[in-house]
């Protein structure tokens, strides 16, 4: 297999309170079947050989489902192409001599910890505020007692497919978390199990989202375009309707 060399301009920032900057590296022996994160592995092996600190980035499952990886490649979260995470971005998307600008997800609510690692704890706090159905262990009725039409189950799954990577926030010019929040709200709002807490859930999740410092939705749909799971912005209207209804009814 033929190899290529790519130039990588990657954000280096030693710690949250230190300044960061883009640093240029050349990475040799890149092959088309390599994923983007494997290319960064190769870069890091080069850095180890030189005794320099490696580029810190989060990565775990490397099959596009855990949502750990995420950085902005050439101005697009998770890089060029649709429906994939950075670990599923393959170097065949690039050609020999290309320059890749690699930056962390940027948002006030996602502070940079080091290099490409950011703190996405805000997402967990939003879920803790209401992104659940209160069902204590052991108290459930038989799973088939509640009939849920195939179409409803499918719609709920479409929303539940969110992997919480934060690319939606990273892509949005306002660093808005509305797609993430709406995916969770919609997932539970579609299902009969989710009805009892529907109002409380949406109000509390939106309140927490406000506190975390995300921006507002401008209905541009950049979020959907970069979403690895191609979560539809249609869920956003479920969030808006549920929220507006809840607030106007005085919840």
């Amino acid at each position: 297999m033929s190899t290529m060399t790519v130039k990588v301009r990657v954000w280096r920032q030693p710690s949250p309170d230190q300044e960061g900057r883009l640093v240029d590296y050349a990475v040799d022996n890149v092959v088309a079947d390599m994923s983007f994160v494997e290319m960064i592995d190769v870069l890091n092996e080069q850095l180890v050989a030189k005794g320099e600190d490696t580029v810190a980035f989060d990565s775990d499952c490397r099959e596009g489902i855990c949502g750990s990886c995420g950085c902005v490649v050439n101005g697009v979260p998770h890089g060029p192409g649709t429906g994939k995470t950075a670990c599923q971005l393959f170097m065949r998307a690039f050609t020999d001599g290309d320059t890749l600008v690699v930056e962390p997800f940027r948002a006030k609510a996602f502070p940079v910890l080091k290099d490409l690692c950011v703190d996405r704890g805000a997402f967990d706090r939003i879920i803790a505020a209401g992104g659940y159905i209160s069902a204590n262990t052991g108290a459930a009725q038989d799973g088939n007692q509640m009939l849920i039409g195939k179409d409803i189950a499918e719609k709920a799954f479409d929303a539940a497919a969110c992997i919480g990577c934060g690319a939606c926030v990273a892509a949005c010019k306002n660093a808005s978390a509305v797609l993430f929040v709406s995916a969770k709200v919609a997932h539970l709002s579609y299902l009969p199990q989710g009805q009892p807490e529907r109002t409380r859930r949406v109000v509390r999740m939106v309140e927490q989202m406000e506190k975390e410092g995300f921006g507002a939705c401008s209905n541009e749909g950049e979020c959907e375009a970069v979403c690895p799971k191609e979560i539809s912005t249609l869920h956003i209207q479920i969030l808006q309707r549920d929220y507006l209804r809840a607030v106007l009814r005085g919840a």
């Binding site: 306002n174 921006g215 507002a216 749909g221 209207q237």
Partner: protein, 226 residues
């Protein structure tokens, strides 16, 4: 009131308000534009229309409508500015490189510049009111009596190329604002995004823009010469 305040405590509520006010203003602009289209056809009809609006007893209703419009305008701008400032604060460190994502994204030049086109409107509307509503009052005799000759004022204003140019630019920006604003406004109110609705909004934006441009262009081309 408590509920309205609760609504205003979140971006979703603020954006809903912004969408609602924007859409209502578009509704007003449609009527405004339709009336303007009388100019090239009939000086008398145009003046009669404006006279009717400002005669008793309609004037009371119109004043109410004007107050409502002022409220819409103010509400739209205040929420717009508040939300924009917050949005800017949501990303304190900018990307070194940021590209449009493409695909299903609806991002456009119009959607990226809403605050700027909006700020131009903020400047434009008071000037526009000063020029026309509170501008020189010419009178003209009609079979039913003396009425304000708004037609003459319009012709005079737009005969000035600088004024016309400013209006054409402002109207283009208004069109851009409505291009994104119409569909977005509905979405902010919880109406599911539909391509058809968005396209309709964009068509409406173009029609509004072109419709409003008719008068200055008509005058620049020599129309209304006495």
């Amino acid at each position: 009131m408590k509920r309205i305040l609760a609504l205003l405590s979140s971006d979703i509520g603020r954006k809903a308000l912004m969408g609602l006010t924007g859409l209502l203003m578009i509704g007003f602009l449609i009527m405004h534009m339709a009336a303007n289209l009388l100019v090239p056809f009939s000086k008398e009809a145009y003046n009669a229309y404006s006279h009717t609006l400002t005669s008793s007893p309609q004037i009371y209703l119109i004043t109410l409508v004007e107050l409502a419009l002022l409220a819409l305008f103010a509400g739209h701008f205040v929420t717009g500015i508040v939300v924009t400032l917050k949005n800017w604060g949501a990303r304190p460190v900018a990307y070194q490189r940021k590209d449009p994502a493409g695909g299903p994204s609806r991002k456009s030049l119009a959607s990226s510049t809403m605050i700027y086109t909006g700020l131009v409107m903020l400047a434009f509307v008071p000037l526009h009111l000063a020029t026309f509503k509170y501008g020189t009052v010419y009178e003209v005799a009609t079979p039913t009596g003396e009425v304000r000759d708004l037609y003459r004022l319009a012709i005079e204003v737009f005969r000035n190329p600088l004024q016309s140019a400013w209006y054409l630019i402002a109207l283009a920006l208004l069109g851009a604002h409505a291009w994104h604003g119409f569909g977005s406004g509905f979405e902010s109110l919880g109406v599911a995004h539909k391509v058809g609705l968005r396209r309709f909004g964009q068509a409406l934006a173009v029609i509004l823009m072109l419709g409003f441009m008719v008068v200055p262009v008509y005058v620049l081309l020599g129309g209304g010469a006495s």
